[in-house]
């Protein structure tokens, strides 16, 4: 909208404000179509199917690749839901930063804690 131009306040230096500018308005047009959501959901479903498939070891033995593959698939699903369904792709980076801060901090402190019990002795 016209009254939102950042140039009116050059001293205002926050990057998030500037970055955000052209994305946040009118969720209707900035966001993808329903069809895009359905496509994402199909991908998610397919990955889930693959994940469950690993459980039936008699069919395919994944060997040492099992855990890394499971984690990779999990991360992809996590990423897809966060970026598409939760709109992080389209929304202000500030939102993502708030969430990522918690996520990274949690991963950091808890991984250290768990490894302290196992390896740091």
């Amino acid at each position: 909208m016209s009254d939102t131009a950042t140039s009116e306040h050059p001293e205002h230096s926050e990057p998030e404000a500037a970055e955000h500018h052209d994305e946040h308005h009118g969720e209707g047009h900035a966001h993808p179509s329903d069809w895009a959501y359905v496509k994402i959901a199909v991908v998610l479903a397919a990955i889930t199917a693959l994940e469950v498939f690993t459980y039936f070891e008699s069919v395919v033995d994944w060997g040492v690749a099992l855990v890394p593959s499971l984690i990779f698939m999990m991360v992809v699903k996590f990423y897809l839901v966060a970026t598409w369904f939760m709109h992080l792709r389209f929304d202000s980076k500030l939102f993502g930063r708030m969430f990522t801060a918690g996520l990274v901090l949690a991963a950091g402190v808890y991984l250290v804690t768990l490894t302290v019990f196992e390896f740091w002795v």
């Binding site: 009116e8 205002h12 500037a18 946040h24 308005h25 804690t113 302290v116 740091w120 002795v121």
Partner: protein, 669 residues
């Protein structure tokens, strides 16, 4: 999007400050403005700040009495003032009270009162949630202390409440149950408040108030809110595990079933160490406002102060296990956490030197606030350095769990935190209440506190190095502990006298106020926006929202530097300050529902401990209150501007799930 000229804080048409007055059916919102009842329904961040401050000071007295009991018991060997049982409860509740019911809410008082003022906002982002935070905090505080009456005594496991000593077999009274549930209630309050204040800081700054122009107090409080935001869920997890163990026979801390007691320690200290910075950073913020004002200089190295604050907040997450050097967690962990702990001293040291550099070449005027601020720097330095001495993990094996540690953290928390907040109290009292605190009594207050503090906690360094263990209710003759314990007890009595002087100061200052000239908007020749508006602050804060052009905006309104670099006055306070006579500012309407929600939570707590039916009643009350809150018209649509009628109605209806979400679900499903 950027700030527009049409800010939300601009004045609308109208004739005076007014509140919603037209009742709206069954969900009539309370009317603002008059009498004590309005304090129960207030959503004004300033009143909530005052409520926090007053309650915190009340609990300071409670915790102080507990401290006196501890010191009386330990004054001489084989003390018989308290039994071992009562002593354990008293020292536990002293720690819990001072941390959760005194310093944190006192810092919250500053955060509530001054974040909006310093960033040029009319209120916080979510005023009703702000009220909710306070009432939940108060209900949690009361809940925790009712343990003395209905729980068979206070918690007796230490504020750290290590497993397995916190189990039912080893602590059979209900004290620990009250601890586990009470701290969760307090945690909800702090969590809600931290979300609220983070959004306020990020989203409600006046035009031109960029992050790097925010006053340092606001910065430190913002960092504190982030620490709370991320630290509270961790203690919540720990407290849930403890509660499930105690009340529902879970096996989290039962070593016989293979559980590991160190799990509690990790969870507790992942919360507990950031908690230290939650306590100290607000005081750093206060000191960073007071010292420049009374040095007639800007804060030296603003960017470094801000970034060192951020660095402290960040590094504070990587040092928790230095509380566990002797727990047997393994030499690699010990070495790693020892190293990480040392380097947190770097940003802290930078802060201290920047304060000194601010005083360098300045004109130091030692008001009581300035005395407290400088004392904060000095005492915190001692606490910080003694911290460095036991960051060396092998050395810590001699020092941990002795009085050396007690001395260390009291120098940090009392010498740093409490003295710093006292500086803030003297500094901002005229802004909040419209009259000064008496400087002469203030001086007495300062010196008694300082002397008493050092006499109490200084000797504890020696006692600790002489081998006196912490948390012992008595000690035998012949270990050389007698002299310094007596000295510490005398010191405590001097502190108590200082606290009484402070109370007397508050009472006398108020009584004398009518006969003295009012302080005016800017009694100290201040630097930040809160000094540009009348004292006490009018309900709407700012008549017109300031346009901010740089740091210390208000100071630059009054002064400029001429071509020779000399400071010249360009405007008097009378010319530049706002009059507080704004018209037509629309304020959020008060509400009783936050109070009602808060009343439900302790009922759930009592219910979990004594009878689940009571918990059901509490839960129903909470849920009903939340729905009533959501259905309550957000405001009287006719007040001040009616073009939003449709909007507010819809908002109210649609809002309820979100309200339910943020206030209950976070920690307490």
């Amino acid at each position: 999007m950027a700030i527009t000229e049409k800010t939300p804080l601009e004045l609308g048409p109208g004739d005076s400050v007014r509140y919603a007055e037209r009742p709206l059916g069954v969900f009539t919102r309370p009317q603002g403005g008059r009498g004590w009842r309005d304090w129960l329904s207030t959503v004004d961040h300033k009143r909530i700040g005052i409520l926090y401050g007053a309650s915190a000071l009340f609990f300071f007295l409670v915790g102080g009495v507990e401290a006196l009991l501890i010191r009386l018991q330990l004054a001489a060997p084989e003390g018989s003032v308290l039994s071992a049982d009562v002593y354990n409860q008293v020292y536990t509740m002293h720690g819990v009270t001072m941390v959760f019911l005194f310093i944190m809410p006192l810092a919250a008082a500053f955060a509530n009162y001054f974040i909006p003022l310093q960033i040029g906002a009319r209120d916080v982002a979510f005023p009703r949630l702000n009220a909710l935070s306070f009432w939940i905090w108060l209900s949690g505080a009361i809940f925790l202390n009712t343990s003395w009456i209905v729980g068979g005594g206070g918690a007796d496991c230490g504020w750290f409440c290590y497993s397995t000593n916190s189990g039912v077999a080893f602590s059979p009274s209900h004290g620990v149950d009250f601890y586990a549930i009470g701290l969760q209630i307090l945690g909800i309050a702090s969590l809600v408040s931290s979300v609220n204040l983070i959004v306020t800081c990020l989203n409600m700054r006046a035009p031109g108030m960029t992050l790097m122009r925010m006053p340092v107090l606001t910065w430190m409080l913002l960092i504190t809110q982030f620490l709370l935001l991320f630290a509270l869920p961790v203690i919540t997890v720990a407290l849930f595990l403890l509660m499930f163990d105690r009340l529902f026979d879970a096996q989290f801390f039962n070593p016989d079933a293979g559980a590991d007691p160190l799990l509690w320690q990790h969870l507790f200290w992942i919360f507990g160490h950031p908690e230290v910075y939650i306590i100290i950073l607000p005081a750093f913020g206060v000191v960073s406002e007071v010292i420049p004002t009374f040095s007639r200089k800007p804060l030296f190295g603003y960017e470094f102060m801000v970034f060192s604050g951020i660095a402290i907040g960040f590094m504070g997450w990587g040092v928790w296990a230095h509380h566990m050097f002797v727990s047997g967690m393994g030499p690699i962990s010990v070495a790693a956490f020892s190293l990480s702990t040392m380097f947190i001293a770097v940003p802290t040291g930078v802060k201290v030197l920047n304060w000194l550099a601010t005083m360098w070449g300045g004109k130091l005027k030692f008001t009581v606030a300035m005395k407290f601020a400088v004392a904060t720097v000095a005492m915190f330095t001692i606490g910080g350095l003694s911290g460095v001495t036991h960051s060396v993990a092998p050395a810590d094996t001699q020092q941990t769990d002795t009085y050396y540690i007690v001395a260390h953290f009291h120098y940090v928390i009392f010498g740093g935190g409490v003295l710093g907040l006292f500086a803030g109290i003297y500094f901002w009292w005229p802004k909040i209440f419209g009259h000064f605190l008496n400087e002469r009594i203030g001086n007495w207050h300062f010196w008694t506190i300082l002397v008493g503090f050092n006499l109490t906690f200084g000797p504890m360094h020696i006692l600790g190095l002489q081998g006196m263990s912490r948390r012992i209710d008595t000690y035998a003759r012949g270990y050389g502990f007698e002299f310094w314990n007596m000295a510490a007890t005398i010191g405590t009595l001097i502190i108590a006298a200082g606290v009484l002087l402070f109370i007397w100061n508050v009472a006398k200052s108020k009584r004398d106020a009518p006969h003295l000239p009012p302080p005016g908007p800017d009694p100290w020749d201040g630097r930040t926006l809160e000094w540009s508006i009348p004292s006490p602050v009018p309900a709407h804060n700012f008549d017109t929202v300031p346009q901010v052009h740089g740091r210390d905006e208000w100071w630059h309104t009054k002064y400029a530097e001429n071509d020779e670099g000399k400071v010249v006055r360009v405007a008097t306070v009378e010319e530049a300050a706002q009059t507080g006579e704004a018209t037509g500012v629309h304020l959020p309407s008060p509400s009783f529902w936050p109070l009602a929600v808060a009343v439900g939570l302790p009922l759930i707590g009592y219910g979990l401990i004594f009878n689940l039916w009571l918990a059901l009643i509490g839960a129903l009350l909470t849920i009903a209150s939340l729905y009533s809150w959501a259905l309550e018209p957000v405001d009287d649509p006719d007040a001040a501007h009616d073009q939003h009628e449709d909007h507010s109605d819809d908002e109210a209806e649609a809002t309820d799930p979100v309200a339910a979400d943020d206030s209950t679900e976070s920690d307490q499903p």
